[in-house]
């Protein structure tokens, strides 16, 4: 009876979290849709969303804020679930796309494209393509280097990720130093930016992130087993090697798709799954989809704040805010409820 009650309470918690996160996401989406140089009312924003109201409002909501919100949701969801999956497969609370160097690899690709533009191909094409390529290259590089005798020890993988990430970060710094007039562009990109995205970019990013995320969500049960250790997982019939590779490729694809178009947005993949684990426990079947919802809500909130808080200066790069909000909150939670983060 006690066990059934516990399961019931967990389900209720998950349901409550789902409802809360959905509500928050809806609220943040409306705030972000209505946010403009001269703010729109919720009513005007809602009407404009369906094509009613004056031309200015319709352009703002449908052509400027709409794609921005969709991209923010997709990127937040992608980074959230990627972080959750990496933490699960490496059984390490520090694992995230950033720790494995994927973001640094993507940043290097983007910086390379900006520093040496190809005259016949516009920057808005070369930057995401290069970022995507280098993100994938980093993943394979890290995975290959850390592979020892057919095994990929977690510690080696993480250390290798840190080393390769540092190498790419140094190369980005070098390119930034050499870039001259283009330096600001590179710096800005490395701080994250949702503003340069239209529907076309969303149509590329959203399917990629959705496909990768679905693959990861479908492996929730196997990831639960792997969090107990490789030996336990094998005993439970999980093909650890295959699932780990599948998850690595999926999370890299999702991270690359997210980072390639909006730049580096830090802390989403680290903070959101952790907060959810503190509240809901370690069950990946719930954590993975909720990390998507939470990541989306967090990014959209940060995007809104980046536009609203410093309105006199224009738009603050979103990556600054995700780190400014994420890091202190993360430290606070760790200090307060260290024993409940789900890794003991």
């Amino acid at each position: 009876m006690k066990s059934t009650g516990s399961v019931g309470r967990k389900r209720a918690k998950v349901l409550a979290a789902t409802v809360c996160l959905t509500g928050l996401l809806a609220l943040f989406v409306m705030l972000d849709l209505a946010q403009a140089f001269i703010n729109l009312s919720f009513q005007d924003a809602l009407f404009a969303l369906f094509g009613y109201g004056n031309e200015t409002h319709i352009i703002i909501v449908q052509k400027i804020n709409g794609p921005r919100v969709i991209m923010g949701c997709a990127v937040g969801a992608g980074l959230g679930i990627s972080g959750a999956v990496m933490q699960a497969i490496f059984r390490n609370p520090m694992a995230s796309p950033y720790i494995l160097g994927l973001s640094s690899g993507a940043a290097f690709g983007a910086a390379l494209a900006m520093s040496f533009p190809i005259s016949v191909i516009p920057l808005f094409v070369t930057v995401p393509v290069f970022a995507f390529i280098f993100c994938m290259v980093t993943m394979f590089l890290v995975y290959s280097i850390s592979r020892v005798g057919g095994r990929v020890p977690t510690e080696t993988l993480i250390l290798c990720g840190i080393a390769v990430g540092s190498l790419f970060s140094a190369l980005v710094s070098l390119l930034t130093y050499l870039a001259g007039d283009r330096m600001m562009g590179i710096v800005f990109w490395t701080m994250g930016d949702l503003s340069q995205n239209g529907w076309q970019n969303s149509m590329i990013v959203v399917p990629l992130i959705l496909a990768g995320s679905l693959i990861m969500v479908a492996r929730g049960r196997e990831l639960n087993a792997m969090m107990l250790g490789d030996a336990h997982a094998k005993d439970l019939g999980v093909d650890v090697k295959k699932v780990r590779l599948e998850m690595l490729i999926s999370s890299s694809l999702v991270t690359a798709a997210a980072v390639a178009f909006v730049g580096v947005i830090g802390f989403v993949g680290l903070v959101v799954p952790h907060i959810l684990r503190i509240i809901l426990g370690p069950d990946n079947r719930a954590i993975l989809p909720l990390s998507m919802l939470g990541g989306a809500a967090f990014v959209i909130l940060c995007d809104y704040l980046s536009r609203a808080l410093f309105a006199d200066l224009g738009i603050l790069p979103i990556g600054i805010l995700t780190s400014l909000i994420g890091a202190p909150y993360f430290i606070y939670l760790l200090r307060r409820r260290r024993h409940e983060v789900g890794w003991n």
Binding site: F37, G180, M184, L313, G314
Partner: protein, 375 residues
């Protein structure tokens, strides 16, 4: 009588002999037709000049500078307008004809000596070594007085170069810059001529608009979008381009404190701002990598907004700013100041198409009528 006639002729000849040289000198002074060297001309048009540059060094010119290093498009265009093109021995990378579009530099010797201003030490060394006949005790280096040029300036001064800086904040200061460069180069008369033209241009557009009854709200709302290192900004109240925009008769809606709460000094571009400020015309920074049409598509602008990309020399201090003002005025008020060349071409192309269509229609009607009559 004969004697008297001879005396008159003799007096006339003497008078002629006395008057002709005087007339010759006067002609030369007025029109500069005589083949004086720059030094000869400069010496006649020169008074010693002392200026204090942005790092606080007093620089004195006891004789006109014969050679100049021009580390800024504004200085290059000014030197060319002052007919000192032959004096330029070195230019900055932005002045090179491939970047600036200054055609006079295409075959100029200085074109093969264009450097980033950040290479202060290299530039200083080349000039100190007498590159292109540069004499560091007599000649001049022109550079913008930005704070981040301080190191380059100090590198040059360390090798004994005379560095003169300018950082005009207003159109009048841009005019003064021309006067000072003219004074240093010994081209006071030419500088006076150009500055007079610049002052007249400044007054011409506002007067013409007034005469056409355009004032207050009927003036065109125009926004200047600056672009640096991938970042766009609007507002730019203190930028030289916005100053030119206003001289050309435009109103910068970002100045409108009533509409937006406070004037935008410099605002990192939010695409919604471009829509809500509702400008009639947008002028784009020449550094923007795309075209005006690409910008329009990228920023989801309304169809009614006209977008123009300025050329590199249009928003520079000095004489070329007159081209910028003219371009902006034509873009904003084509009915008053005339259409821009490319718009005229488009208009002509449109007219040609109309004529072709009319001829085709006429031929078709004639063919139908002919066929009907044959039946």
């Amino acid at each position: 009588m004969k004697k008297m006639t001879r005396t008159i002729i003799a007096l006339f000849v003497i008078a002629e002999m006395l008057l002709i040289p005087a007339a010759g000198v006067q002609d030369t002074t007025d029109f500069g037709a005589m083949d004086f060297s720059a030094a000869d001309f400069g010496a006649a048009d020169f008074t010693p000049v002392t200026v204090v540059n942005s790092v606080g060094t007093a620089v004195t010119f006891e004789e006109p500078a014969q050679k100049a290093a021009s580390l800024g498009i504004s200085f290059t265009t000014t030197l060319l307008a002052l007919e000192c093109g032959d004096s330029i021995v070195l230019i900055d990378q932005y002045s090179s004809d491939s970047n600036s579009g200054i055609t006079e530099l295409a075959s100029h010797p200085a074109s093969s000596h264009s450097y980033p201003v950040g290479n202060g030490e290299q530039i200083a060394q080349l000039l100190a070594d007498g590159m292109g006949g540069f004499d560091k005790t007599r000649d001049v280096v022109f550079i913008y007085g930005y704070a981040y040029h301080a190191d380059a300036i100090r590198s040059m001064e360390a090798l004994g170069l005379k560095v003169v800086t300018f950082y005009p904040a207003t159109y009048s200061e841009g005019v003064e810059m021309v006067t000072e460069i003219g004074a240093i180069m010994g081209k006071n008369s030419k500088a006076a001529e150009i500055t007079q033209e610049m002052k007249s241009a400044s007054a011409y557009y506002s007067q013409t608009l007034e005469e056409n009854g355009i004032a207050g709200d009927s003036r065109v709302k125009a926004v200047y979008v600056s672009y640096s290192g991938g970042n766009m900004r609007i507002g730019n109240i203190n930028s030289y381009s916005v100053i030119l925009l206003k001289i050309a008769g435009g109103v910068n809606p970002a100045d409108d404190a009533n509409m937006i709460g406070s004037a935008l000094i410099s605002y990192g571009i939010d695409d919604t701002a471009l829509i809500q400020l509702d400008p009639d015309v947008i002028f784009l920074d020449p550094n923007y990598s795309g075209t005006a049409e690409e910008f329009r598509a990228e920023k989801n602008l309304k169809d009614s907004v006209r977008v123009y990309k300025l050329s590199m020399i249009m928003n520079q201090y000095g004489p070329s700013s007159m081209d910028g003002i003219e371009y902006m005025a034509k873009a904003m008020y084509p009915d008053i100041f005339g259409y821009l060349d490319d718009e005229q071409a488009a208009d002509k192309a449109g007219n040609t198409l109309l004529y072709v269509l009319a001829v085709c229609a006429f031929l078709a009607i004639a063919a139908i009528a002919y066929t009907a009559l044959r039946r």
